[in-house]
């Protein structure tokens, strides 16, 4: 009967009653007995249970019940379940109560821990590919083989473990190869690339997989026919084509070297500005290519010579000579362009509207895509984001290669760490009610002030532009007119330059608790200012200029936008000259306290967003606006780079580059791009195009061009489907209503799923903590067992096992006592204590001795204990080495 009692780990205290509810629901009573056996077996079963855990349940079936039977003792009664009702809640989610996975055969197997994918979330893992699991479960140390053989050979048991381990490894590898072979080539390559192994091993696996594949295909070869061969060839050539394309793509990624230099000197944060700039530039290049090829080239074919004079001021004002060029809307014809006689013609109207429409649709999707990608990457779990741990281990920027930058970064880091240490005491400081009210009042006042300033700016801009318009009505000389048109953009740019400084001053007044909040608030205020200025200008254009009955209002708007962009560009250059160059001169020569200026990432990125918004609006009124934008971005890139290299130092504060980039992409999408779409919609549906110029002259609204075309198509029987699509899908309110309802439903569904997953994440997190407690408990018990085990003398096996029961019982009691202590930090202390007690006696545990105890004491426990001790010793040795002066 002593058998049950021998199993020290069957103590009902082994698991806490707080084991999760969801765990209990997965209790597997049917496998209960078997599990009991497994746990008392040698570590084959350990692997076995581990395998089961890692989502490859079939392993459990690979090992039939025969294995547990092998070690079955005579007289072993299956009476646990009745005698120990407490065991009922012992089952952990994996149905295997005694093999805590984090507990097996350390340290080597620690790497095989199946939850490596924890980062992806447990559900992902469950659904993830089998082979993936296989490959990750093999994430051993590069020197894992060494580790295995470093085990003292006197530990016979462990040696045999190494053998079984190798066998197991072999099996795993076979399995992995099989899995890989069954995948498609692309997936396979991805899986191999992801394996954290040395190149040699990866190549071996790859070659084996390929062999396997050829073997398989060889069996197919008998029935290979022309068709499959053809398919295979197509696939092969497609692969080659793709390789070539990706190489071309890499060539296209210009400025790689410049970016590397900037990253090396200033780190990822400043780099993010340049990456953003580059991204916008590619946007503009794309739109330029589209517009140029579909709108401008056909127009150039038919356009006549330009007889206006060119005097240089046009570059600034965009008027005069440029009026009669392809730059502006007004120059494009409304006719169909026909070169050959045989009926093939090019309708300029349709080309214009479709090109721009499709460009906006592509922009929309690519923005949504990059925004979603960025959000998915960077805001996975923003709520639990906590500073210092991640700060410390993820903060080092491996991009930085410049010696000075490294030193600067290091000293910045040390001050940051010191600051955060002092903050620990600061945070506890509670503000009194009065102070809190005062603080809120300050925030309110500042918000009102900044909104008021923005509103005042808008009003000023609006009245100025109206006055300007009236001034231009009067008959003045050409030069005077052109100079007058420059007033508005200069004022706007000045406002854009100066008001943000004002907002920055407000930030000093407010004294935010976290610098992050200050940053976000400043960004929001600035974007509000910029977007409202653009908004008021759009209102002015669409409300005042468009109803003016002048010869060509679209071109006038295009000119205005051109001027705004050019003047803003010039101010940007001035900004980096005065803001950075002069500031550095002052900082280094006159007033040493100021020091070298930092590169203001937020302000610069907002400037980019502002110009991009203008350029998007301008695309309709001046189809070649992207070209202007490309030139200006190109120059800005180099100016900023030079100015940065010469004048600036890396920002001292932590700039969470990826989150800020996400925010900026979002800002580019939400107020900026959606605003542009709204303006476009008003222009196309509600405003009458001018009568004397442009592709849409003579229509009541621009969209009439499309409906007229549909009307013509109606008479052709071959294109009925286009008409149908237009009438029933694009032109129909019902369709959009239904679409909206469906989208809302899907959104709601996903939202609910997310809510459910949040709960799941929380539960799983609790479970991790509980598992940790379990582990602690077991470790404590083991160490206690260890200390008490040294007492009993050697003797007959049976005797020993019976005598061993006593200490283990004691240990159990001890553990029960220890349980009453709160876990967590205290538990950890306790763990350390008990181990420091256990370690000096390492010589006491002779392998032969423990070998003898096997039948009595649980082998699992002994093994795990030894492995753990081994790890402890090694760690100690290493530590000693490390700290030796």
């Amino acid at each position: 009967m002593f058998y049950h009692d021998n199993e020290a780990f069957e103590n009902p205290d082994y698991h806490y009653s707080e084991t999760l509810e969801i765990d209990r629901s997965r209790e597997r009573n049917s496998s209960f007995h078997q599990n009991l056996h497994d746990s008392s077996l040698d570590d084959d079963s350990l692997y076995d249970s581990y395998e089961g855990r890692s989502g490859r349940g079939q392993r459990n079936q690979d090992y039939p019940l025969a294995i547990p039977m092998a070690s079955m003792q005579p007289g072993f009664q299956y009476s646990y379940s009745t005698s120990r009702s407490a065991m009922q809640h012992n089952t952990n989610p994996y149905g295997n109560p005694h093999t805590n996975p984090s507990f097996e055969y350390e340290p080597e197997l620690a790497y095989t821990s199946p939850s490596f994918h924890a980062a992806d979330g447990p559900y992902v893992r469950r659904s993830s590919d089998m082979s993936d699991g296989g490959s990750f479960s093999q994430r051993y140390n590069r020197r894992q083989a060494d580790l295995v053989y470093r085990m003292p050979s006197s530990l016979l048991r462990l040696d045999s473990n190494a053998e079984t381990y190798n066998e197991d490894k072999h099996k795993q590898e076979e399995k992995l190869i099989k899995n890989l072979a069954s995948m498609s080539s692309r997936e396979r390559i991805k899986a191999i690339q992801k394996t954290p192994k040395t190149m040699k091993e990866k190549r071996d696996i790859r070659n084996k997989v390929l062999m396997e594949k050829t073997k398989k295909s060889a069996s197919y070869h008998t029935q290979i026919n022309c068709c499959t061969q053809c398919l295979y060839k197509t696939a092969l050539s497609y692969q080659q084509f793709k390789n070539g394309l990706s190489e071309c793509w890499h060539l296209l990624q210009f400025w790689q070297k410049t970016l590397k230099v900037i990253g090396g000197k200033f780190g990822t944060s400043v780099l993010s500005y340049f990456v953003f700039l580059k991204w916008l530039l590619t946007f503009n290049i794309f739109s330029f290519l589209v517009n140029f090829s579909f709108i401008t080239i056909p127009q150039l074919i038919v356009s006549g010579p330009n007889n206006l004079s060119f005097n240089g001021l046009e570059l600034l004002s965009g008027a005069g000579y440029f009026k009669k060029t392809v730059l502006y809307y007004g120059f494009y014809t409304n006719s169909t362009i026909t070169k050959t006689e045989n009926n093939s013609s090019y309708n300029m109207r349709l080309a214009y509207i479709f090109t721009i429409g499709i460009y906006f649709i592509i922009c929309f999707f690519s923005l949504v895509y990059s925004m979603a990608k960025s959000f998915r990457k960077n805001f996975i779990n923003p709520h639990t984001y906590s500073g210092s741990a991640a700060k410390l281990l993820c903060i080092w920027d491996f991009n930085i290669t410049n010696e000075k930058a490294v030193k600067l970064k290091q000293s910045n880091l040390s001050t940051q760490i010191k600051e955060s240490l002092s903050e620990v005491t600061l945070e506890v400081l509670n503000l009194s009610l009065k102070q809190r009210i005062a603080r809120i009042a300050v925030h309110l006042v500042v918000w009102v002030a900044s909104l008021g300033i923005a509103a005042a700016c808008c009003a000023g801009v609006y009245f100025l532009s109206r006055n300007n318009l009236q001034f231009l009505e009067g008959k003045k000389s050409e030069l005077e007119n052109e100079a007058a048109t420059l007033v508005l953009p200069i004022v706007v740019s000045l406002l854009n330059l100066l008001v943000p400084f004002c907002f920055a001053l407000f930030g000093l007044l407010e004294k935010f608790q976290y610098p992050r909040h200050q940053l976000y608030v400043t960004v929001i205020r600035n974007i509000f200012l910029k977007i409202s200025i653009i908004g008021i200008l759009c209102y002015y254009w669409l409300n005042d200029v468009a109803t003016l009955e002048k010869e060509c209002w679209e071109s006038l708007v295009g000119q205005d936008i051109y001027r705004l962009i050019v003047i803003d560009f010039i101010f940007c250059l001035f900004g980096s000259f005065f803001g950075e160059f002069v500031r550095r001169i002052i900082g280094t020569k006159c007033c040493k306290k100021l020091g070298v200026p930092e590169f203001d990432i937020a302000r610069n990125v907002l400037d980019l967003i502002y110009t991009q918004t203008l350029a998007w609006i301008g695309i309709f009124f001046a189809p070649l606006m992207p070209a202007v934008q490309i030139i200006s971005f190109f120059i800005i890139f180099y100016v900023k780079k030079v100015s940065l290299m010469r004048n600036c130092q890396p920002p001292r504060k932590v700039w969470r580059a990826s989150q800020m980039t996400t925010l900026f992409i979002f800002l580019l999408f939400f107020p900026s791009f959606t605003g542009v779409l709204a303006v476009m919609a008003v222009t196309i549906w509600r405003r009458m195009p001018s009568n004397q110029c442009g592709p849409f002259q003579g229509l009541t609204s621009i969209i009439d061009a499309v409906s007229g075309w549909i009307h013509i198509l109606d008479s052709y029987s071959g294109s009925k489907w286009v008409v149908w699509i237009y009438r029933n899908l694009i032109g129909s309110v019902h369709f959009f209503f239904i679409l909206t309802v469906i989208v809302l439903m899907i959104t709601y569904l996903y939202w609910q799923i997310i809510e459910g997953r949040k709960i799941m994440v929380r539960l799983l997190h609790e479970q991790i903590i509980n598992e940790g407690k379990d582990k602690m408990f077991l470790l404590n018990k083991l160490s206690a067992l260890q200390t008490s085990k040294l007492g009993p003398p050697k003797g007959e096996q049976q005797e020993r096992s019976s005598s061993l029961y006593q200490p283990s019982r004691q240990a159990a009691l001890q553990m029960t006592a220890s349980l009453e202590r709160p876990f967590g930090r205290n538990g950890r202390d306790f763990y350390a204590e008990s181990f420091s007690a256990g370690i000096p006696e390492k010589t006491g545990l002779s392998p032969a001795d423990s070998e003898g105890h096997r039948p009595a004491i649980s082998e699992t426990l002994a093994l795990a204990l030894r492995a753990r001790q081994q790890a402890e010793w090694e760690m100690q040795d290493d530590d000693d080495k490390d700290f030796r002066p």
């Binding site: 340290p107 620690a110 924890a118 190549r203 639990t384 741990a389 080092w396 969470r656 950890r828 760690m875």
Partner: protein, 227 residues
């Protein structure tokens, strides 16, 4: 390769570097020349067989061109040691001193750890395979899991598969150039363990580390070396 041999090679390399500090430029010339010959003849067989290149492509996140570029970077470190042809799979290892002198690594406080982690012998002496492996993991394309795994190993100074307090202390000292007092360092490390340790065992396992990485989105962009 025997240890003595390697040491000898290291010494040899250094003497070479001292005598001829311009060998880098020479390597560059060689590189340009090779680029030319490559475009001229359109073949890459001089260095790798197509199969080898395919294998490298499948095992790293690089394209052919990048692999070749990296090969030249590798070769530039010791042109007299690395043959121009890898068809016969020569067993060449560059000593850590050369690897650590690369512009990308030479100021990195963790350069020795990086080299040790990625080298097969664990001492920072790298074969071409190790070299490619290293930059593949540190490239932009590598997924978060892989990066996190190797970052973990880099911070695990004593190779015990856990980041314990002593590892963290070393990390902090490297990050701050020993500017903090030992008390401050120990305080910071306690805080980190406190925060990131999910299972309360007083040290960070791979899982803890992974868990932390997920919440630090900047990690992907900072654990990245541009080549």
């Amino acid at each position: 390769m025997l240890k003595e041999e390697r040491e000898f090679l290291a010494v040899f390399n250094f003497s070479y570097l001292n005598i001829q500090p311009s060998c880098k430029d020479k390597g560059k010339e060689q590189w340009d020349k090779n680029q030319d010959s490559e475009t001229e003849m359109g073949n890459k067989q001089t260095i790798f067989t197509p199969e080898q290149l395919d294998a490298y492509q499948d095992c790293t996140f690089f394209t052919r061109k990048e692999i070749l570029r990296l090969f030249y970077r590798y070769r530039d470190l010791a042109p007299q040691l690395v043959p121009l042809s890898y068809i016969n799979k020569p067993d060449v290892k560059l000593p850590y001193e050369l690897i650590g002198s690369m512009a990308e690594l030479k100021d990195n406080p963790f350069r020795q750890r990086i080299a040790e982690v990625f080298s097969e012998d664990g001492e920072g002496n790298m074969t071409l395979d190790d070299f490619l492996d290293m930059f593949s993991v540190l490239s932009e394309m590598a997924p978060r899991d892989l990066k996190a795994y190797y970052a973990f190993k880099i911070y695990d100074f004593n190779n015990d598969d856990y980041i314990c307090k002593s590892d963290l202390e070393k990390t902090v000292n490297k990050l701050t150039r020993n500017e903090l007092t030992p008390e401050e360092v120990s305080l910071v490390c306690d805080k980190v363990i406190d925060e990131a340790d999910q299972d309360n065992d007083g040290k960070l396992s791979v899982e803890d580390f992974q868990h932390m990485i997920v919440r630090a989105p900047d990690f992907l962009s900072t654990f990245h070396i541009r080549i």
